[in-house]
Symmetry: D2
Amino acid sequence: MAIPRSVYPAPFNITRTSHVVLTVKDLAASRAFYCDALGFVISDEDDQALYLRGIEEACHHSLVLKRSADAPVCERVGLRVYTEDDLDRAKHYFERAGLPAALVEGPHQGRTLHVCDAVGTPLEFCASMAVRPRLVVQFPQHKGACPQRIDHVQILAPDVQGACAFYCGLGFRLSEFIAPDGTDDLMFVFLQRKGNPHDIVFANGAGPRLHHAAFSVPDAQHIIHACDMAGSFGFGANLEYGPGRHGPGHALFAYFRDPDGHRLEVFTTHYQVMDIENEPVRWNLSSLRQRSWGLPPRRQWYDEASRFLGVEPRAPARTGDPMTLEKFLAEEE
Amino acid sequence: MAIPRSVYPAPFNITRTSHVVLTVKDLAASRAFYCDALGFVISDEDDQALYLRGIEEACHHSLVLKRSADAPVCERVGLRVYTEDDLDRAKHYFERAGLPAALVEGPHQGRTLHVCDAVGTPLEFCASMAVRPRLVVQFPQHKGACPQRIDHVQILAPDVQGACAFYCGLGFRLSEFIAPDGTDDLMFVFLQRKGNPHDIVFANGAGPRLHHAAFSVPDAQHIIHACDMAGSFGFGANLEYGPGRHGPGHALFAYFRDPDGHRLEVFTTHYQVMDIENEPVRWNLSSLRQRSWGLPPRRQWYDEASRFLGVEPRAPARTGDPMTLEKFLAEEE
Amino acid sequence: MAIPRSVYPAPFNITRTSHVVLTVKDLAASRAFYCDALGFVISDEDDQALYLRGIEEACHHSLVLKRSADAPVCERVGLRVYTEDDLDRAKHYFERAGLPAALVEGPHQGRTLHVCDAVGTPLEFCASMAVRPRLVVQFPQHKGACPQRIDHVQILAPDVQGACAFYCGLGFRLSEFIAPDGTDDLMFVFLQRKGNPHDIVFANGAGPRLHHAAFSVPDAQHIIHACDMAGSFGFGANLEYGPGRHGPGHALFAYFRDPDGHRLEVFTTHYQVMDIENEPVRWNLSSLRQRSWGLPPRRQWYDEASRFLGVEPRAPARTGDPMTLEKFLAEEE
Amino acid sequence: MAIPRSVYPAPFNITRTSHVVLTVKDLAASRAFYCDALGFVISDEDDQALYLRGIEEACHHSLVLKRSADAPVCERVGLRVYTEDDLDRAKHYFERAGLPAALVEGPHQGRTLHVCDAVGTPLEFCASMAVRPRLVVQFPQHKGACPQRIDHVQILAPDVQGACAFYCGLGFRLSEFIAPDGTDDLMFVFLQRKGNPHDIVFANGAGPRLHHAAFSVPDAQHIIHACDMAGSFGFGANLEYGPGRHGPGHALFAYFRDPDGHRLEVFTTHYQVMDIENEPVRWNLSSLRQRSWGLPPRRQWYDEASRFLGVEPRAPARTGDPMTLEKFLAEEE
């Protein structure tokens, strides 16, 4: 299979990943985890929802937690378009592609377009949000991981090749990808609009399901402090994987599961990738077995993910055989 | 005066500040300063020039040092356009504006367009460069400040308002500005294309002259380590100002003078600014006297800058009265 | 003059510098500075006094602030002896030396011995204190500089040679010293009992006066964060000197003045010095003009210090000619 | 069983843990691991041995690696006494106790006393070493973990109670200990002379065997950098456990296995413990199952250790049932 090429100029101007909307069972527990332990800032809250942002974000929210008695799900992944005009062009684009597209009104953000991408991921686009103060230098309010801003989301899907082609058609660029040795069958694609390696990542797996949302933190020390603060607030066991060093993207990371099982990554900042001569970086599937350091993740890190509201996951045609912690220990014996 | 509005879509697609070309008297001294002490990576060198990049840059160079027996100058500030087509459109744009525009060939980069902006700053645009490995995780090669990448340049100019209007016409957005209390006379403008506060900054002063080029570093610890390494290699006195905390932009910074007097800023990462609802942040000139902490800079930090090759600086209509270290100490007595 | 030799075994066992007792005008202002901005922990407080400790200290207090309407002074410097028996032996030692020595009772600490050293510094010894929880891993309570523990005090005195001889007689070891080039006239002596470079430092100057108390912090990042937090709480101008890198001792430092003018140093950890083969490190006075990096301190850093209660300072026989910021700027012009 | 009390004054003055002597198969491989990757400084080397120290140590060596074709072992653990007189008193003390004690000569250190402790651990005492420059501020020579100095050793032994009693008889103080809930049967004892939690640690297990030697590093960032550098030099798989946060002692840690299987801990600095009122801190065995964060160590971390030369390990009367990674994963399923 061929590596898809990005369409330029894009049919409409997506600028970045904007937010995720998750349902949770207990807002107080979520608040303890996200705000007390990890340092997210509250933009608004009531008995139905928590609207959170990172310490440098001026946008109203990058993480929305909505109370629900049902099994926790991700309602939608939010993306930003630059102008209201881009929003209208987006609507036409999805309609022409025969995909769902409906303009709705939502709290704290401008006109919002609900769509589904080609692999069934529920997305929403908006061009503006309510504005809140950036707290970059409000040091007394910095806590925990000191999350700066949302950076990307990762989605499990059975058709990574199709997802990649669809997003390249929207003007996304492929920064890195993983394929089995000797083929171009895309197993993992890192797609970006904002000029660093990721806005949206697709990985082979039953889906579409949300694997994680990722927030950048200032430096290595804040990764460790996030772990220490999680431990202090009784969320030590919620650390699922890390601290560790990624292969693709090169970031230092830690993965947490929130009280409802949604996965959160905190990581140190990515490199800049903006220039046309930057070809996608290829990683052979086999090379991923050679981690720089650290044990491999548990099987659950590969398998478990948040369902999207009303979307039944489909199994992938081929399943990978990733190196899990369980397998690693069995092989060592 | 009115705050200029950004043109959207831009007449051609500038993606970021790319590089600066400086002349120096002694390449060995420059190499000791930039590479041994501060940790820049050498992409190429010969007896006429040093081509340097930051540890995460894949582009061939973000800092070019050319040997010259003449008084040290800045030859040009380099900017990136996205495609070769953008380069052609840039040429037409400058020609139509009656500004110099000439396509040239240069080493290690694609077709290059030499122009001058509306205030006389010599610029060059290119759409591609030779590619070198990113050294993000080549930890044994990380040294000193561990400069990641070029972030912005600051230019002194007598007509900040005119510079701002010109760059907004190119699609730059104004992220922050400084004006005297009660007026909109622009004294300091922070202009960006790449989605963080700066690509090019104009400050009121005799010019156009290059005040400094700025490179991002991973965290606060690397600012301190840059100072310690500068001291270790005999460049301690080259630290001109800092470590300190900026008002506009909020970064932690340190300013060095290189062996030829060119000024370099190393700083920690800026916030992201991409959304249309982000209005320019206004700072009153008077508020800058209230630094968060740290002594004010010496007078030389305000007054001294690198001339551009063949460009005679012009004095500004009005000169500011900034708080210098000399004035601060005199007032305290 | 000869460098004094340490008496071993010591006449009684002093283990470390323990605390300082300062008077202040406004306990609320002191609390805002020390606790809110810099992160000291409150062990006890009432309307007469604040008892503070560092985040890893189990002892009740390392910093006592007592409310007084009089001009702010240092009442006493506290030192620890190992056992109650050492306390009795200390009493005999001072009595035999013809120095004041009186056992008193004080809050939150065991039997306490009030003495004056040979240069007139009011000291107090105790062998035990009330115990409070170490907060090393109570991360939610860590703030500002995250002061770990008291490390040393510095005292200005006119007879540094005499002070050094006296403390070596108590078993202190000289880790480093400063003398004019070509002589052994001690201008600055770093004396220690606990196995790192300082417990008590004497520097030539009108005294005895307390130049500063010093607390260790975890790392370079906390030095910067202390500055940022000081700025956030309105104490940015209280940063008097630094961040900078010391010559003797090698620590990274920042000096603050508290709301009453008492000076506080926060610094990163010192090296270990315990072995008998470690001879005192000599620094020539001239070599101190070559700072590794950073501007020299203002004149006030050399001249200003806290008086001891009821002790009239005496002028030194010779006054130094240190490099001040004022002199540095004048020489540069 | 009763918690042993420390003898004061000590029969002779031990000041700190000084060094370990290990045998290795391949000095070049050891050098790559310890020096290139982890940043140890070479004091001397020839084709028979490598003498290494931390960046702030003035003593000649804290880690001696001797080439041997035999199975890798630890030859001896080195401790410092303060004076030559203490060395003679040590000799008498061990002789009177019926334990081996022989004065020998060794390279780069003063008169050396070879002894065995009550549980059979081969020790050596010396009062002085050759002196090398402290490299605290020789920043260009700092690499990897930037190990500052040796801090402690941990020894597996079948009779922890006996070891504790023996070392308390030498004047060691017990800072922390682990015992099964409801008993004072010592399973883990942290013993110190130098004023922080550890100089020598005994843990229940087949022994005596050396579990690890531990070196302090400046901060959390250097723990991560040690992992990254280990990965860069091909020693990523040598990271056995961590980065993680200890319960007892509270340090942030990472454990590596060197190319011969000897275990090394790098960790951030410990708290100070010098005051007589500091009672030993008790940890119930059950409480250790509640880690603050991070997965438990693999079984090998509990079981594997370096034999001492010529010492046949004995099995403990009771074996613990620690939480291993293998058991944790099995329980989770």
